[in-house]
Subunit: 384 residues, 2 copies
C-alpha cells in the first residue's frame, strides 16, 4: 500500500529525490537511460523514454509518473494519460516547458512580462528583428536546449545560417525564437510547488549566477530585494503555475532589468538547479515537495532554516580520479559545508555535484561554499 | 573508485544512512536479514549475520564494515579483522556494547560514574545486593537486551528465578548484572563521533523520555542544563570513546540523578534513537557523521540548526492500513514537521517511524511533533 512514484530519467534530479523518498517511505522507481546513472539506486528499469512500450510498461509499476527532464515526447505523454496513468506535470503543462515558442506565446497571452520576442522562419525575418533591437539579439531553438545549449547571442544574421539550414532540411516548417538582449542587473529564480488539487507554496526568490551559460552559484534568498520585487516574482510564478496547470515544482527563471522590471526568461517543470539550496536551506526541500505535490499530498513548509544559504555547483571536478579523492581536504576545510556528489565521472564543465553552506552572513557562506567547490576541483568556482 | 561502506543489518538505522550516502556519493551496501527490510533499497545481500561465510563474502564487496545493530558475534568480528577487513567499530570496542557486565567492569576501571552494580551468579548473591539497596534493584541479562528487553525491575529474588534457571541450563557459568535502582530526575544521552585517526565531535547533550522501556521523545538540546552538566556529559562520552577505541557514533545513555550527578546507563556504538533529531536539527546528522567516521574522513560540524528540536517516535501506527494512509491529515496538520517512515508494517508498540519539529520555542515544537505522531496513529505520543 506504499506510495509509488515513477521518475522518467535517471539524472541527478531523480537521484536527489531518493533521500526525500526514503524519509517519507515513498517507493521511488526510476526509468533510467542507461546502467550506472546518477539515480541508479532507485532505477527499477533501464530503457529509452522515447519508446512508448517501454514507458507504458514502466508506468504500470507506479501510481504516478513524473520527470527528471522535459525530453519525453508529447505523444508519449498523451498516450500515458489516455491509458489512465497519472502524469504530473501533465502534457498540457509540459509542452510550455518543452517548446520555448509555445511558452512565449502563452505567457504573452497571460500578460506575464517577457522580453521582446518573435518567431522567425528565415534570415530575413531575423534581420528585421535585429534591426529593431540595436543589431543584437538572443536566438534560441524552440526545443532541446538546456544549460546554454540551443541558445546563441547573435549580432549578424550570418551567425544563424546553420540553424536555419537544419530547419530547412528537416522540412517541417520549423521556426526559431528570437528575443531581445535584455539589459539585466542580475538573474533570479522563483520556485513554486503546486498540487493537482490546487495548493501552492513558494520558496523565497533567489539570485542565480550563470557562467558560460551554466548555473554556477545561487544565493537564497536573493540579497537586497524589495518587497515589491518579492511580491512580483511570487505573483508571476503563481500565475504561471495556475494558468498552465503545472503540478509539482515549477522553476521560473527571471531577469531583473536595470530599470527594475522582472521578465520571465525560462521555465522548468521539475526540481531545478536554482532550488538545490533548499535541501539544507528550507524546512521542505524542492525534492520532498515535488514528491508531495505529484502525489497530491499536503505541501510542506518552505520557510528558510538560516538567514542565508549559498549553493555552488561543482563543475568538471578533479583532473584525475574521483570527487571522493578530494574529500580529506575538502571536508576538513569547511566542516559546515554539505557536499552533494552525483556519482558522475568528472569531465570538463560537467555538473558533477554541488555544495551548500548556510549561515548568518552571506559573504561568509559564499566564501565557505566556494572554497569547498574549489577543493573539489570545480572549474569555475572562483567568484568574478 | 567510490567509497564503499558495508552495513550489517537492514533495520531503520541502515535505512537512515541511505540519504547521507546518496548525498556524499558513498556506495552503501547492506547485508539484510531478510527481503523487505527497512534498508532494502541498499540491500545488496540477504543472509544470516551469524554465519561466517556469509559475512566474509559480504565484506569482500566493501571498503569498511559497520553495523545497524550490535548482535554480530564477537568471533565473526575477529575473523573479519584477521582476514584484513576494516571493521568500525572494531571487536575490542564492540564487546563493551554487546556485554553489559564487561561494560560495567571497564567503565568502573576508568572511573566513569556508573550506578552501583554487581555481577550475580545466584539468587543468594542477588539477595545480598537487594539487602544492601533497600530491597529493590534492576536486573539485566549481560547480552541481547534492547528497548527494555532483558531488563527487569525486581523487589524479590523470586522474580529472577527463570533467568537464573536459563543460565544454569546453559551450563556455561553465566551471570547476571544487577544495578541499583537510580533515583533519577531524567534521562539524557550524549552522542559523540570518533574517527580511527582520533578526531571526535560531540552533539549537544539531549533529554530522552522513555515509556514502557522504549524511547518515546527526545528534546535537543536537553532543556535547563547547566554548563557543568554539559561539560560533564561531554567529558564522559569522550573518555569512553577514546578509552574503548570506539569508531563511528557512540551513544552514551545517562541518568541525571536527583542529587545532580550523571551516571552512565547504557552504551550503543552506532547511530541511536536519541540522535534521530540530528537529521534536521544539526548541520551534520548522526548518519552522515557515522559514515564519515567509519571511512576516517574529516567529521562534520555538529552545531544545531535551530534553538530547539523535538523528535517523537511513532510506535505502533494505524490499526488498519499503512502509515502513508494517514499522510493527508498528518502532513496538513503541521506543514513544518518532518516525517520519517521506516517502511515497516504497523504492529502494537513497534517503532515504525519518527517525526521531528524544529523551532524557537520548545513547547511549540513538542506540541507540533506530538500532534503529527498522534495523527500517524502512534500509541504513546501523548505527553504524560
Amino acid at each position: 500500500m506504499s506510495l509509488r512514484v515513477g521518475v522518467i530519467g535517471g539524472g541527478q534530479l531523480a537521484r536527489m529525490m531518493v533521500p526525500a523518498a526514503v524519509n517519507l517511505g515513498i517507493d521511488l522507481r526510476v526509468l533510467a537511460e542507461a546502467e550506472g546513472s546518477p539515480a541508479q539506486l532507485a532505477a527499477t528499469a533501464v530503457g529509452d523514454y522515447r519508446d512508448l512500450a517501454t514507458v507504458l510498461e514502466f508506468a504500470k509499476t507506479v501510481d504516478v509518473i513524473t520527470f527528471d527532464h522535459e525530453h519525453v515526447p508529447e505523444e508519449i505523454l498523451r498516450e500515458l494519460v489516455s491509458a489512465g496513468h497519472s502524469v504530473h506535470p501533465g502534457p498540457d503543462a509540459l509542452r510550455f516547458a518543452q517548446d520555448k515558442l509555445a511558452m512565449r506565446r502563452r505567457l504573452s497571452e497571460l500578460g506575464v512580462p517577457v522580453p521582446d520576442w518573435a518567431e522567425v522562419r528565415s534570415e530575413d525575418e531575423l534581420a528585421a528583428f535585429l534591426e529593431d533591437h540595436d543589431g543584437h539579439a538572443v536566438l534560441k531553438t524552440a526545443r532541446g536546449g538546456y544549460d546554454g545549449k540551443g541558445v546563441r547571442l547573435i549580432r549578424d544574421v550570418g551567425e544563424s545560417t546553420d540553424w536555419f539550414r537544419i530547419l530547412d532540411e528537416d522540412g517541417r516548417g520549423g521556426s526559431l525564437l528570437v528575443e531581445e538582449l535584455v539589459d539585466f542587473r542580475r538573474e533570479l529564480a522563483q520556485l513554486v510547488a503546486r498540487r493537482p488539487s490546487g495548493e501552492t507554496r513558494l520558496w523565497p526568490v533567489v539570485e542565480t549566477v550563470q557562467r558560460h551559460g551554466v548555473c554556477s552559484e545561487v544565493f537564497a534568498p536573493a540579497p537586497g530585494t524589495t518587497s515589491r520585487l518579492v511580491d512580483l516574482a511570487a505573483s508571476i510564478a503563481v500565475t504561471i503555475a495556475e494558468s498552465l496547470d503545472v503540478t509539482g515544482v515549477l522553476a521560473v527563471e527571471l531577469f531583473e532589468t536595470t530599470d527594475d522590471r522582472l521578465l520571465v526568461n525560462e521555465l522548468a517543470m521539475r526540481p531545478h538547479n536554482s532550488g538545490h539550496w533548499s535541501i539544507e536551506g528550507s524546512v521542505t526541500s524542492q525534492f520532498e515537495q515535488h514528491l508531495r505535490a505529484v502525489l497530491d499530498l499536503p505541501l510542506g513548509d518552505t520557510a528558510t532554516r538560516a538567514p542565508w544559504t549559498v549553493m555552488v555547483n561543482v563543475l568538471g571536478g578533479p583532473s584525475a580520479g574521483d570527487l571522493t579523492d578530494a574529500y580529506p581536504k575538502a571536508l576538513a576545510d569547511q566542516p559546515n559545508v554539505k557536499v552533494h556528489n552525483y556519482g558522475k565521472e568528472p569531465r570538463p564543465g560537467r555538473k558533477i555535484g554541488h555544495v551548500t553552506a548556510t549561515g548568518d552572513e552571506l559573504d561568509e557562506a559564499a566564501f565557505e561554499a566556494r572554497s569547498v567547490a574549489a577543493l573539489l576541483g570545480s572549474d569555475i568556482s572562483i567568484a568574478p
